[in-house]
């Protein structure tokens, strides 16, 4: 499993810009409210972070579970 993962803050505007940017289709928009990340798919590449117009995505170290 990748070491990093994307985190999306509550200020997400649910625009969906990140959907197309993710090469692994790890993002979906939850009920038109905000974006959510599928932790099993995300590799923390940061492509979503670069396109997010609201700057609400951060790439962080995965916590060991």
């Amino acid at each position: 499993m990748a070491k990093k993962i994307a985190l999306i803050s509550e200020e997400c505007v649910a625009c969906g810009s990140c959907l197309k940017a993710c090469p692994l289709q790890a993002i979906s928009i939850f009920k038109g409210s905000h974006a959510i990340i599928d932790a099993t798919k995300c590799v923390g590449c940061g492509k979503c972070q670069r396109v997010c117009p609201a700057s609400v995505i951060t790439i962080t170290e995965r916590k060991e579970s």
């Binding site: 200020e11 505007v13 649910a14 625009c15 969906g16 810009s17 959907l19 197309k20 090469p23 692994l24 289709q25 928009i29 009920k31 038109g32 409210s33 670069r50 396109v51 997010c52 117009p53 609201a54 700057s55 609400v56």
Partner: protein, 195 residues
């Protein structure tokens, strides 16, 4: 791995065509109502933002210009622009101006004043727009076209400015339709989950 292209990935062409058609005949502005009705229907009936997420030609156009033509600086948006205050404040302002425009249309409809063939940019600058022939319709139908096209052109220009200054789809952060549909979805979600 590139994502598969769908038919709706080309809707930016529709948006660009719409803006150009307004230069030829202002009456085409009426078609733009679809950009108001469709996202609201998605939010009210489906409880989703599929319009923003897949079908909005404006979002796609900004993305194409910003990324494809490299017209965007890709800087981060200032925090005040993405604050709830600004987003909801802009929504209220936009809707007020929208109803103001409907009222002007009503005044022309009830013959209080005549047709004004001008496009108002940024709610301030008046641009004479007299070259389009609108004699085939009632003056109020033409007045609505001028008012509605003014809103569409103004919001496109705002979108282009923030596309250039910040990330390509910065307009989507404060787009009134985006804010409105997101709140409809969140309200729907709250009411259905608390039942």
């Amino acid at each position: 791995m590139k994502q598969k292209k769908h038919w709706y990935d080309y809707l930016w062409i529709v948006t660009a065509t719409y803006l150009i058609l307004g230069f030829f005949n202002i009456l085409f502005a009426w078609i733009g109502i679809l950009c108001f009705i469709i996202p609201i229907l998605f939010a009210l009936i489906g409880g989703n933002k599929h319009y923003c997420n897949h079908y909005c030609g404006r979002g796609q156009l900004l993305e194409r210009l910003g990324n494809g033509l490299r017209l965007s600086s890709h800087r981060s948006i200032p925090s005040w622009l993405r604050s709830k205050w600004f987003r909801y404040g802009f929504l209220v302002f936009f809707m007020t101006m929208f109803f103001n425009m409907l009222f002007s249309t009503y005044l022309v409809f009830s013959n209080v004043h005549g047709l004004r063939e001008i496009i108002t940019l940024f709610w301030t600058f008046k641009v004479p727009w007299e070259w389009t022939n609108t004699s085939m319709v009632s003056p109020w139908i033409a007045q609505f076209s001028f008012g509605f096209y003014s809103l569409m052109l103004t919001s496109t220009l705002l979108g282009l400015i923030t596309m250039a200054l910040y990330k390509p789809r910065s307009w989507c952060v404060y787009c009134p339709m985006g804010t409105m549909t997101q709140s409809i979805c969140q309200l729907r979600h709250k009411t259905t989950s608390s039942r």
